[in-house]
Subunit: 213 residues, 2 copies
Amino acid sequence: MPTKTATTPAPRTPRKRPLVTVSEEDRNRRADLVRVSARLFREKGFDGTTVRDIADAVGMRSGSPFYHFKTKQDILAAVMEEGLVAGLAATERIADSGLDAREKFHVLVRTHLETVLAEGQDFIPVLLYEWRSLSPEHQARIITLKDKYDARWQDVLAELKRAGLITSDSKVVRLLMFGAVNYTAQWYKRGKGLSIDQLAEEAVEFFLGAAGE
Amino acid sequence: MPTKTATTPAPRTPRKRPLVTVSEEDRNRRADLVRVSARLFREKGFDGTTVRDIADAVGMRSGSPFYHFKTKQDILAAVMEEGLVAGLAATERIADSGLDAREKFHVLVRTHLETVLAEGQDFIPVLLYEWRSLSPEHQARIITLKDKYDARWQDVLAELKRAGLITSDSKVVRLLMFGAVNYTAQWYKRGKGLSIDQLAEEAVEFFLGAAGE
DNA sequence: CCTACCGATCGGTAGG
DNA sequence: CCTACCGATCGGTAGG
């Protein structure tokens, strides 16, 4: 049954709320839970966050999150998956753009920094720092997405090397760059010092060194 | 009947021990607790590790760690402090050596990598990834040590810049390097791929770029 | 350092 | 999504 059919005549019977299908409101509440959980998991860790913390933050009673998620683990998986799907989409858009190597890399770094540092962006930091709390089954599913993400970065590094902007495009170099960028989550304070754009600028200069001049 | 899961209690040889002074044995047991706690905190996180886990790992009963430490928090602080004191000593030794800038930097990177990646070296990773679990009072005391550590790195970066090996020795550059090196704790597998020495080599080349050639 | 224990809290559930 | 609840577990303690 189509969810929205503009051309069908109005139903003869007065509309009643569907009792079986998942309502729009349910989906919104679920999204609320994922969003506040991301923030709490980032601030206090997965083990340091209780289901009651999460329920409080969205104005539910302590047992109610389990109407939307089977377990606390499932909430964690949802947070990570949402962050990675969004991050992957952005990465692919940039990788497939027609920009030249240096510019493409710059945009990639800036976008990743925004993903890690901008307000309300807690999904990827949770992915980075709560990975060990995720069950092996959930990990396996998310690794598939993560591999695609990594592959796109590796492609851009290969472009940089062809352009003579870096001397090595090894996996180790990618991981070192990734570490440098991801670690900003630990020390960067919004509104103090550099803006995210300025930070991206300095990071790119550092990564490409004097080779790019 | 088969529910005899837990480790058997330590042999109970009643033994005379000094009642007032802290015996050598007490100090050894305390060191044992710190060492196994470092490993457990790294593997499962502070909140994911129970005092019972720690007691089991050294062959004590669940209440006994509290003979050596007032709280679980105090164990965490001891782990971090021990790691930082050792790391700071090594860093100062290198910074004050007569090596030239590039060589000094290389040794610094390699030593830090060993601190993060070598077997049984769990203290600094715990410091890096469980910082938020430490109470503000403990944090304040440890920040003093951490500042000294950072200052030594900054000194070496200034040397690198004077030698023309890097184009910027800003704090941001130090933090990016630190992130790249620290993040290895998340992906490096001992005995697979590069050795720690080889990794140090590649990291230094990446950090100094083509400028050093 | 062990025995024996406690109050608090936790993830999760039954039934509406 | 709430009410009412449970079994398990946790950090920590008294007393020896």
